[in-house]
Amino acid sequence: MLKIDDADRRLLRHLQENASASVAAIAARAGLSTGVAARRLDRLTRAGVIQGYGAGINWRALGYTIEVSLRVTLDKTQGNAFDALIAAAREIPEIDEIQTFLGRVDVRLNVLARDLAHYQDIYRNRILALPHIADIEALMLVANVKNTESLPI
């Protein structure tokens, strides 16, 4: 595994704060020369520490005002319950996150909907048709108090 030192961590911290900044600007903030910073960022990218850069989407600006976190408990007597549920969930475009857990919840599905009627339609016709579900609990998003992909590095 790649050894990551304090200078790498400073670079990554500033990159997390503003991924659109130029290498020169990030280098200056991290107290490094542009050349050294560019080489280090390149090394971190080749080692897979930096996986990529993606743009965020504000779903509200596209009219998706409802976001619901569905906590699913599976019928574990079915050997393929996880794989079957995840494969079927991928077919529902309104699901933008699928996570599996160790704990009381087996799978979490994040659902986006335009309004409550749209959500009800997705829930009744698509979610409840998913295989091997034993129980579902819903948490409806009221407000994002903090939402950062930033890691404490």
């Binding site: 990554l12 997390q16 991924a19 990529g52 699928i98 979490r108 404490p152």
Partner: protein, 153 residues
């Protein structure tokens, strides 16, 4: 709210996956002209749909091997206690996401830690000491998949 056509959706899909290429490179990939692509990106940005470039880091390679989702119920409710709780919880660096939700819990949190022992330290010293905290449920993340969301093309 902004209406999207198929080309806009393709651009959003590409940019959420990789926001680095120039509008020229993206144009070539999608078979469009560079100025047309640039105009569309500008329009999507000005409408608040595209929300800036973010770096994706490998948490495991940076020594953060454990992610835990928490459901939290407040023991006491009232405007002041919500504000106190939110102010304190957002200040914890290991807490990446704080969402105020409706349902079985009042808040859902995403927490990263070096390992389970480190998570226990965060839970005991930072989370369980939050003002107004009641029931806490923890689920350890095993796998995660981000989907493009409702950008059907």
């Amino acid at each position: 709210m902004i209406a999207l056509d198929t080309t806009d959706r393709l651009i959003l899909r590409e940019m959420t996956n990789d926001a680095r290429p120039s509008s020229g490179a993206l144009a070539q990939k999608l078979g469009l002209s560079q100025p047309a692509t640039w105009r569309r990106i500008t329009r999507l940005t000005e409408a608040g749909v595209l929300t800036g470039k973010r770096v994706r880091l490998d948490a495991g390679a940076l020594g953060l091997g454990v992610t835990v989702f928490l459901g939290i119920k407040l023991a006491t409710k009232g405007r002041v206690s919500l504000e106190d709780f939110e102010r304190a919880v957002t200040a914890i660096p290991e807490v990446q996401v704080v969402q105020h939700v409706l349902g079985l819990y009042d808040y859902r949190l995403r927490v990263v830690a070096r390992d389970l022992a480190d998570f226990e330290r965060v839970l005991r010293r930072r989370i369980m000491t939050l003002p107004g905290i009641g029931d806490v449920e923890a689920n350890v993340l095993l796998s995660e998949e981000r989907r493009p969301g409702p950008l059907g093309v």
